[in-house]
Amino acid sequence: MTPAAVSHVGIRFENIDKRYGGLYALRRVSLEIAAGEFVVLAGRNGSGKTTLLRIAARLVRPSSGSITFLDSKNGPTKAASRAGFVAHATMVYDELTAEENLLLFAQLLGIAEPGARAETLLAEVGLTDRRKSLVRTFSRGMRQRVAIARALLNEPTVLLLDEPATGLDPQGVSWLAGTLRQMRDAGRTILVSLHGESEISALATRAVRLEAGSVIADTRTGASLPSILTFTGA
C-alpha cells in the first residue's frame, strides 16, 4: 500500500457494557489506544472481541459507556471520519465483480477518482487479472483480499480488523502482514482480533486479552505479547 500523510487518531473506550438480553458480551471495558498503536485483541470465541470491534466501527451501540476518537487534527469526536473495517464476513457482494464492488463502495464514500482508486487497490491486492470476475467465483482467500481492499478504499486512519487472516494461505498472510506493517509505519491506528501467534501478531505494539467480555490482560512489553496471544487461562 502507499499510505499518504494522515492525521493520527487514537481510540478511548470508557466503561463499555454491551448486553444482549441478560447476557453480557462486554462488561466495563475501558481501554485507551494511542494514535499509531497496533493492538492485537486476543481471547477465546465469545470473549467479546468482535463486539468491541463493531462498537469501535459504530455498527453496534454500546448498552452503556462511551467511545471517543482522539483526532490529532480535529480533537475528540464520537465517530472516526475515516475508519476501515474488515469483518468476519467479506462485506462484499458475491454477485458483483471485484471491480464493481470496489467502485460501488468508492462512489458511496465519495472518493474523488473511484475508478483509479479501485484499480490501484486491485493491483495491490493482486487481483487485476480477475477484476472482471464475479466475487462468487473467487476462493475464500481471494474474497478476503477484496474485503481488505474495500476497507482500505478511503485510506483509513483507523483500521479495525476481525480475524483478517481467515481463509488466507501462507502467502496471503505474508501479504497482509506486509500491508499492515506499512500502515502501522505510516502512523495508522490498528486494532485487530487474532487467534494465536502469526506474522500479523508479530507486528503488534500492544496486546489485550478479553475473557467473558472483560479485559484480563493488557501489555506493551514485547516478551509478554506471545504469552497473551497463546494464553490458555487459569
Binding site: 459504530r58 462485506m91 462484499v92 458475491d94 454477485e95 458483483l96 463502495f105 464514500l109
Partner: protein
C-alpha cells in the same frame, strides 16, 4: 444523500437484471395466482367488474410479500449491510434505493400482468391505462415503503420468512382497500377517477416515507 441513493439503486438494478431471480419468480407467482383466481368464478363481464379489482390487488400484495422478502435478507449473508452503513453519509439512502428498486420491480410486474388480467377477467384496461398506471404506482410505492421497512426488521429476526407477510399484510390493508376502490371505479362500465382513494394513497405514502426517513436508521442497527 441523492448521489448515494443513485449509486445504490444502480447496484440493485444491476444485480437484479443480471440474475433476474426476483422478477422471474414474482411474475410466475402472480401469473399462477391470477389464473387460479380466474377459475374460481364465471368471468362474465359484470361479475368480473365487481371482483376483478380486489382479486388483482390481492395478487399484487401476495407477490409483493414474496418480492420484498430477500430485500434485506440478501445483505445478511456477507454482512454487506454493515459495509453500506459504514459507507453512506445518510442511512436513508439505503432505504431510498431499495424502495425505489422495489417499486420499479413491482410496477414492472404489474404492467406485465395487466394484459393477462384483461383477457382472463374480460375487462378492458387500455381505455383507462394512464389512470391505472397512476394507481398502480401509488399503491406499489406504499407497498414498497412499508415492505422495505418491515423487511429490514424481519431480516434480523428469527422465523424471518414468516414474519414479513405476518406484519406486512395487515399493515397494507388500507392500501389494499384504497387501491381496490380506485381500480374498481376505473373498471366500471362508465369509468371515473375515485380521487378520494388517490388522496388517501398519497397521504399513506407521504406519512410512511417520512416515518422511514426519521426512524429508518434505528431499523438498521444490530
Amino acid at each position: 444523500m441523492f448521489s448515494n441513493t443513485a449509486v445504490l439503486l444502480g447496484k440493485e438494478l444491476r444485480t437484479e437484471f443480471r440474475s433476474r431471480e426476483l422478477l422471474t419468480t414474482t411474475v410466475v407467482f402472480i401469473l399462477v395466482v391470477v389464473v387460479l383466481f380466474s377459475f374460481t368464478f364465471d368471468a362474465s363481464s359484470a361479475e368480473s367488474r365487481r371482483f376483478a379489482a380486489s382479486l388483482l390487488w390481492l395478487a399484487f400484495l401476495f407477490a409483493a410479500s414474496l418480492m420484498l422478502q430477500p430485500c434485506f435478507l440478501r445483505e445478511q449473508s456477507n454482512d454487506t449491510l454493515s459495509a453500506l452503513r459504514l459507507s453512506v453519509r445518510d442511512p436513508f439512502a439505503i432505504f431510498a434505493a431499495k424502495l425505489s428498486a422495489n417499486t420499479l420491480f413491482l410496477l414492472l410486474t404489474e404492467l406485465l400482468m395487466l394484459p393477462v388480467f384483461s383477457i382472463l377477467f374480460n375487462v378492458p384496461v387500455f381505455p383507462v391505462f394512464g389512470q391505472l398506471v397512476l394507481v398502480l404506482f401509488l399503491g406499489s410505492l406504499g407497498v414498497s415503503i412499508a415492505g422495505t421497512a418491515l423487511s429490514a426488521i424481519s431480516a434480523q429476526a428469527r422465523m424471518r420468512e414468516l414474519l414479513l407477510p405476518l406484519l406486512l399484510l395487515p399493515l397494507l390493508t388500507p392500501v389494499l382497500v384504497a387501491s381496490t376502490r380506485v381500480t374498481l371505479a376505473l373498471l366500471d362500465t362508465e369509468p371515473y377517477m375515485e380521487w378520494k382513494g388517490i388522496g388517501f394513497l398519497v397521504v399513506f405514502d407521504v406519512v410512511f416515507l417520512t416515518a422511514l426517513w426519521l426512524f429508518g436508521e434505528y431499523l438498521l442497527e444490530e
